[in-house]
C-alpha cells in the first residue's frame, strides 16, 4: 500500500506563489462544483491550514463531489468510508491478519491510510467507531495492539453529516466536533447554476471524473508550512481571544469557544491571509473564518436534544463579531 508520503517542505517562494496555488485549486474545484465559490475557497483554506473539514448538508448537493475534486486537484490518495450503525473501528483502521502459511500476524491497513479520507455520514456510526478517528485526526497516527502506525502525509479527514435526518444517529461528541477545523454547508446551488448543470449534462460521466491534478501533495505540504509561518500580530491575537471570550460570556451560549477553537481560528485566519498574498493576518481574515471555525463548537442554551441549531449558532457568532471591536 501507499507508504506515507514524506513531508517534503518545498518552501514556497512567497505568499504570492501560495496564493497562486490556492487560486489554481479553487478554480479547478469550481469546474466540478459550480456556483459555490465562497464555500470552495473556505474548503481549500481549511485543507491548506492542515485542518479537518466537516461538511453538513442534505444529500445531493455535491459533498462527495467536492471531496473527490479536492483529492484530484491536489493529487491526493482518497478513500471513502460509509459510516453505518454496524461499522467497527477495525473496518476503518485495519487489523492484524493471521497468515496460516507462515504462522505470523501482519498488519493490514484500513481505508484510513490515505491522504484524504471521506467519512461519509459520520454520525451514523456508534461513538466507539467515531472515536476511532480521534487519534488519527489529532496525531496523524493509528495505534493498534501496541503498535503505532503513522498515517500518510498530508493527512486530512473530511466528514459529512445530514443535518435533517437525525433518527438512528449518534450525535457527534463535542470532543469530536472540536477536532474539525471548519464546518461548512454547501446548500443548494442557485437556480441558474442548476439550469446550467442541466444543459451541460452530456453523458453519465460527471465533471469530477475528468478533473486533472493542478497541485501536488508536496505543494500542499509547502502550503501548510507557509501557513504555519504566517505572522500573527499581538493585536490580532488579542482580537481572536476577545472574540472567544465574548462567546464564553454570551448569555445565550452555554459553553463558548475552547482553547483549541482559539488555536483553530488563528490557524484558519493564517491560511485565509494567503488569498490576499499576505504573510500576516488581519482582523478581516479572522472574521472571514469566524463562522465556519466557531459555530459548530458552541453549545447553545436553547439547544434541546437533537434540535438543529446551526443557523442560530452562526447568528450568534455574527453578533459577537459585530460587538467585539476589531483592532485598528
Amino acid at each position: 500500500m501507499n507508504a506515507p508520503a514524506r513531508a517534503v517542505v518545498s518552501p514556497l517562494a512567497s505568499a504570492a506563489t501560495a496564493r497562486a496555488a490556492l487560486e489554481r485549486v479553487a478554480a479547478n474545484l469550481a469546474l466540478a462544483v459550480q456556483g459555490k465559490e465562497k464555500e470552495l475557497r473556505l474548503a481549500v483554506t481549511c485543507v491548506a491550514a492542515g485542518g479537518h473539514l466537516l461538511l453538513e448538508d442534505v444529500p445531493g448537493v455535491g459533498k462527495t463531489t467536492l471531496v473527490e475534486a479536492l483529492a484530484r486537484s491536489f493529487g491526493l490518495s482518497l478513500s471513502r468510508v460509509q459510516f453505518t450503525a454496524d461499522l467497527m473501528p477495525t473496518d476503518i483502521l485495519g487489523a492484524q491478519v493471521f497468515h496460516s502459511a507462515t504462522g505470523t500476524f501482519s498488519f493490514r491497513p484500513g481505508p484510513i491510510f490515505r491522504q484524504l479520507v471521506l467519512a461519509d455520514e459520520l454520525n451514523r456510526a456508534p461513538p466507539r467507531t467515531q472515536s476511532a478517528l480521534l487519534e488519527a485526526m489529532a496525531q496523524g497516527q493509528v495505534s493498534l495492539d501496541g503498535t503505532t502506525h503513522p498515517l500518510p502525509r498530508p493527512f486530512t479527514v473530511v466528514a459529512t453529516q445530514n443535518p435533517v435526518d437525525f433518527s438512528g444517529t449518534y450525535p457527534l461528541p463535542d470532543s469530536q466536533l472540536d477536532r474539525f477545523l471548519m464546518r461548512l454547508s454547501l446548500g443548494h446551488p442557485a437556480p441558474e447554476v442548476e439550469a446550467r448543470l442541466l444543459t451541460q449534462q452530456r453523458d453519465t460521466t460527471s465533471a469530477v471524473e475528468v478533473l486533472e491534478a493542478v497541485s501536488t501533495p508536496e505543494e500542499l505540504a509547502g502550503l501548510r508550512a507557509q501557513v504555519a509561518a504566517q505572522r500573527l500580530d499581538t493585536a490580532v491575537a488579542e482580537y481572536v481571544v476577545h472574540l472567544a471570550q465574548a462567546t464564553r460570556a454570551h448569555g445565550d451560549i452555554e459553553r463558548g469557544a475552547s482553547t483549541r477553537a482559539v488555536l483553530a481560528l488563528g490557524m484558519a485566519a493564517r491560511a485565509h491571509a494567503l488569498w490576499d498574498a499576505r504573510d500576516f493576518v488581519t482582523p478581516g481574515d479572522v472574521r472571514a473564518v469566524l463562522g465556519p471555525c466557531l459555530a459548530h463548537r458552541l453549545l447553545l442554551r436553547s439547544a434541546t436534544q437533537g434540535a438543529y441549531t446551526r443557523d442560530e449558532a452562526l447568528h450568534l457568532v455574527e453578533e459577537v463579531a459585530r460587538k467585539v471591536p476589531a483592532p485598528r
Binding site: A246, R278, F280, R322
Partner: protein, 674 residues
C-alpha cells in the same frame, strides 16, 4: 444592551453634585433651583431614573423653567450669570434622571464643566476649590470607567476593581503632579485685574461696626465666625481670655446714636504710638480675618504702640499705612481681604496719661443729649448717692444695672427713645444699652465717661487666641484722675462673650483654619514664596538659636531626598516616552486609518457600523467604486504597517492621504493598487 455600571453612574451623579455645589457655595443660586437639583441628584444616587421613559416630555419641562429664569433676569431679580448657571444645573438634573447612554453621559459632564466655570465666576475660594477637586476626581473616574465599559465586549463583566485601582492611582499621581507644578513652576499671578467677592463664607453679618446705634440691628451674639486671631506674648496661658479688645471709643450720644467729636487728625503713618509704653506691655501679633469686614484695628486694652501693618490682598501681602481717626480709632488706609499688624498694650487702668485731650474733648465727656429723660438723672443720683470717686460711682451704678436689669437680644423694632425704653419700660437690653445707660448716668452725676466698642473674650486654639463675631461688645470708660480711662462694664458677666453653639464654633474654627492655610499656601502663594521654598531646601538647617550647624558643608537630607525624587520622576518620564516611541508604528498606522475614515466620511462614504477600513475597501472593490483602487492600496499599506511589521516610512502616510484626497477631488482614481 447590558445594564450600565452602577458605580459609574454613582460617580457621575456625585461629580454633578460637586459641580453644582461649586456654584451653590456662592449663595447666589435660587433656592428652588437648589432644591430641584438636590432632589434629582439624590434620586440619581439612589438609582431612580423616572425620566428614562419620557425623555422628550421631561426635556420639555426645561422650557418653563427657562422661562422663569428669563423673567427673573428681565425683572432684575437675578444676575444673568447666576441664571445661566442655575439653568445648567437644571439641565444636568434632567439628564441625571434620564436613561444612561454615552450621549447622556457626555451632556451631564459637559453641564458639570459649565457649572464649574459658573462656580469660578460666582465664587473663587476654598470651598470652590474643594468642589472643583471633587468634580475632577469623580468625573475622571467615571469617564475612565465609561471607556472601559465601552471597550469590554457585550456580556462580559467589567473588571471594576482592575480598572479603579490604576485609575485612582493615576488620578492621585496627577493631583500630586499638579501640586508639584504649582509649587515649582515660576508663576504669574492671574488674579491681576480680577476682583473677587469676599472670600469663603463672606464677611460676618455683624460684629464690630463703625457706629453704635441703640435699638438698631444690635449684635448677634450667636455668630461664631472668627474675625480675629492673635498671638500674645507673654502668653497668658488661660483657655478663655477675659479681656477687652478695643476698636474705637465714642464721646457723643444724640439720644439714638453714638459718634465722635474728638480730634480727628487723619494722619497717615505706618507706625503709630498712641501713648508712652510701660514695662509690663503685652505684645500681640494680630490678624484680622476676611470675616471681620472693617478696617479698624483692634487691640487689647490699652493699646500703646501699633505698627508693621500688612494688608493681605489677592496679589499678596503689602506693607501699608494707617490712618488716625477720632475716638482713638486707627484704620487701614487700603482695602484688603485681611490685615495683620503688631500691637503693644498696657494693662487697663495703669496708664496715667489720658492722651491728647483738648478742652472740647474733655467737655464732650460730660455732654448729654437734649432730649434726655429727666427721670434718668434722678435715678442715677439715687444709686450713686454721695459717692465722689468716679470709679466707685461707676462700679456702684454698674452693679445696680446688672442687678435690676435683664440681658436680652430680643429687641422689638425701632423705638423713639431706646434708652428710655431700656431704663423704664422693658428693663432689658444688650451690651449697648447697658454701656450707654452707665455712661450717660455717670455723666448726669458729673463723672467724665465715654463708650468703647470692640470685642470681649478670646478662646485659645493651639497657641493662638480666636475672637468671634459674636464676641463684639460695648462697655464704658470712666476717666479717673491720675489713672486715665478705666474700663467699667455694666453688662452682666455671663453675657459679655459670644453665645454660639460649641459644635458650630468648632466646625467654623476648623474651616477657617483650613481656609487660612489655603489662602496662604495657594491664593497668596507667590514667586517670592517659591524662592523661599527652594532656598529652604538648599540652606543648611539651623539649630534652635538660629545659627547654622557648623558640622557639615553638605546640603541637608531633604535636599537629597528632593533630588532623588526629581531624578526618579525624570527617569519615569524618559521610560514612558521611550515606550511611547516603541509603540509608534502601530499608532501611526491607526492615525492613518482615522484620517482616511474622516476623509471618506466627508466624501459621503462613511464606514458602516462595525466596518473596518478593510471591510470598506472590500465593499468598494465589490461595487467597482472608482475610489476602490486607491483605497485598496492605502488599506494594504495600513494593514502591513499595523499587523505586518512593515511600519510606515516618514511622510508616507501624508503621501497616501494626499493620493486619497486627489482621488476624492477628481472623482477618479489617480493611483493603481500595487
Amino acid at each position: 444592551m447590558t445594564r450600565p455600571l452602577r458605580l459609574r453612574l454613582l460617580l457621575r451623579d456625585l461629580s454633578i453634585a460637586a459641580a453644582f455645589a461649586s456654584m451653590a457655595v456662592s449663595g447666589q443660586v435660587p433656592l428652588w433651583a437648589f432644591g430641584l437639583v438636590l432632589v434629582a441628584v439624590l434620586m440619581g444616587v439612589l438609582g431612580r431614573r423616572p425620566f428614562a421613559r419620557y425623555p422628550r416630555l421631561t426635556a420639555a419641562l426645561l422650557v418653563p423653567l427657562a422661562g422663569v429664569l428669563y423673567l427673573a433676569v428681565a425683572s432684575g431679580q437675578m444676575d444673568l450669570v447666576v441664571a445661566a448657571c442655575s439653568f445648567a444645573g437644571l439641565v444636568a438634573a434632567q439628564r441625571v434622571l434620564s436613561e444612561s447612554s454615552p450621549a447622556t453621559d457626555g451632556q451631564v459632564l459637559l453641564a458639570g464643566l459649565l457649572m464649574i466655570a459658573g462656580g469660578a465666576a460666582l465664587s473663587g475660594e476654598l470651598l470652590f476649590a474643594v468642589c472643583l477637586l471633587t468634580f475632577a476626581v469623580l468625573a475622571s473616574l467615571s469617564l475612565g470607567l465609561a471607556v472601559v465599559e465601552a471597550a469590554v465586549p457585550v456580556g462580559e463583566p467589567v473588571p471594576v476593581r482592575a480598572v479603579m485601582r490604576p485609575l485612582g492611582r493615576g488620578t492621585f499621581v496627577a493631583m500630586l503632579g499638579a501640586m508639584a507644578f504649582f509649587i515649582l513652576i515660576p508663576r504669574l499671578n492671574w488674579n491681576v485685574g480680577v476682583r473677587r467677592a469676599s472670600p469663603g463664607l463672606g464677611t460676618a453679618t455683624s460684629g464690630f461696626s463703625d457706629t453704635v446705634r441703640l435699638g438698631g440691628s444690635g449684635t448677634l451674639k450667636s455668630n461664631p465666625r472668627v474675625v480675629l486671631r492673635a498671638r500674645l506674648s507673654p502668653d497668658p496661658g488661660t483657655e478663655q481670655l477675659s479681656s477687652y479688645w478695643v476698636g474705637r471709643t465714642y464721646d457723643t450720644f444724640d439720644g439714638l446714636e453714638w459718634s465722635t467729636i474728638g480730634a480727628s487728625t487723619k494722619r497717615h503713618r505706618t507706625r503709630v504710638t498712641l501713648r508712652p509704653g510701660a514695662d509690663n506691655q503685652v505684645y500681640q501679633r494680630i490678624e484680622l480675618l476676611p470675616a471681620y469686614g472693617s478696617r479698624t484695628l483692634i487691640a487689647l486694652e490699652t493699646p500703646a504702640k501699633l505698627g508693621n501693618a500688612l494688608t493681605h490682598t489677592a496679589l499678596g501681602d503689602r506693607r501699608t499705612q494707617l490712618q488716625e481717626l477720632g475716638g482713638d480709632e486707627l484704620r487701614f488706609v487700603e482695602e484688603g481681604l485681611g490685615y495683620s499688624y503688631e500691637v503693644y498694650s498696657v494693662p487697663p487702668g495703669t496708664d496715667t496719661d489720658p492722651g491728647r485731650m483738648n478742652q472740647q474733648e474733655t467737655d464732650q465727656l460730660l455732654a448729654l443729649p437734649d432730649n434726655l429723660d429727666p427721670r434718668m438723672e434722678e435715678l442715677a443720683r439715687r444709686v450713686v448717692g454721695d459717692e465722689k470717686d468716679p470709679l466707685a460711682a461707676a462700679q456702684k451704678l454698674s452693679a445696680w444695672l446688672q442687678r435690676e436689669y435683664e440681658y436680652t437680644l430680643e429687641l422689638s423694632g425701632d423705638v423713639a427713645d431706646p434708652l428710655r425704653d431700656f431704663l423704664f419700660v422693658r428693663k432689658a437690653g444688650h451690651c449697648e444699652h447697658f454701656a450707654t445707660a452707665l455712661t450717660l448716668m455717670l455723666r448726669t452725676q458729673g463723672f467724665e465717661a465715654r463708650l468703647a466698642t470692640g470685642f470681649f473674650g478670646g478662646e485659645r486654639v493651639g497657641d493662638e487666641y480666636l475672637v468671634r463675631a459674636g464676641d463684639a461688645h460695648a462697655w464704658t470708660h470712666v476717666l479717673v484722675p491720675g489713672r486715665g480711662f478705666v474700663t467699667v462694664d455694666a453688662t452682666p458677666p455671663a453675657f459679655r462673650a459670644n453665645q454660639s453653639l460649641q459644635l458650630i464654633e468648632t466646625m467654623i474654627s476648623l474651616y477657617e483654619s483650613v481656609e487660612a492655610l489655603w489662602r496662604k499656601a495657594v491664593v497668596d502663594y507667590s514667586f517670592r514664596d517659591q524662592l523661599d521654598f527652594v532656598r529652604s531646601m538648599s540652606r543648611p538647617p539651623r539649630d534652635a538659636s538660629g545659627q547654622p550647624r557648623p558640622s557639615s558643608s553638605l546640603p541637608p537630607l531633604r535636599a537629597w531626598v528632593t533630588a532623588a525624587g526629581v531624578a526618579l520622576a525624570i527617569y519615569g518620564l524618559v521610560r514612558a516616552l521611550s515606550q511611547r516611541r516603541a509603540r509608534r508604528p502601530a499608532q501611526e498606522a491607526t492615525r492613518l486609518v482615522d484620517a482616511v475614515e474622516r476623509l471618506l466620511a466627508r466624501a459621503g462614504l462613511p464606514p458602516r457600523e462595525g466596518e473596518t477600513l478593510e471591510d470598506v475597501s472590500a465593499r468598494l472593490s465589490g461595487e467597482a467604486h472608482p475610489l476602490a483602487p486607491v483605497l485598496a492600496a492605502i488599506t494594504r499599506r495600513y494593514l502591513e504597517a499595523r499587523f505586518g511589521q512593515r511600519p510606515l516610512q516618514s511622510g508616507e502616510s501624508a503621501r497616501l492621504l494626499a493620493q486619497l484626497r486627489r482621488a476624492l477631488d477628481d472623482g477618479r482614481p489617480t493611483a493603481r493598487a500595487s
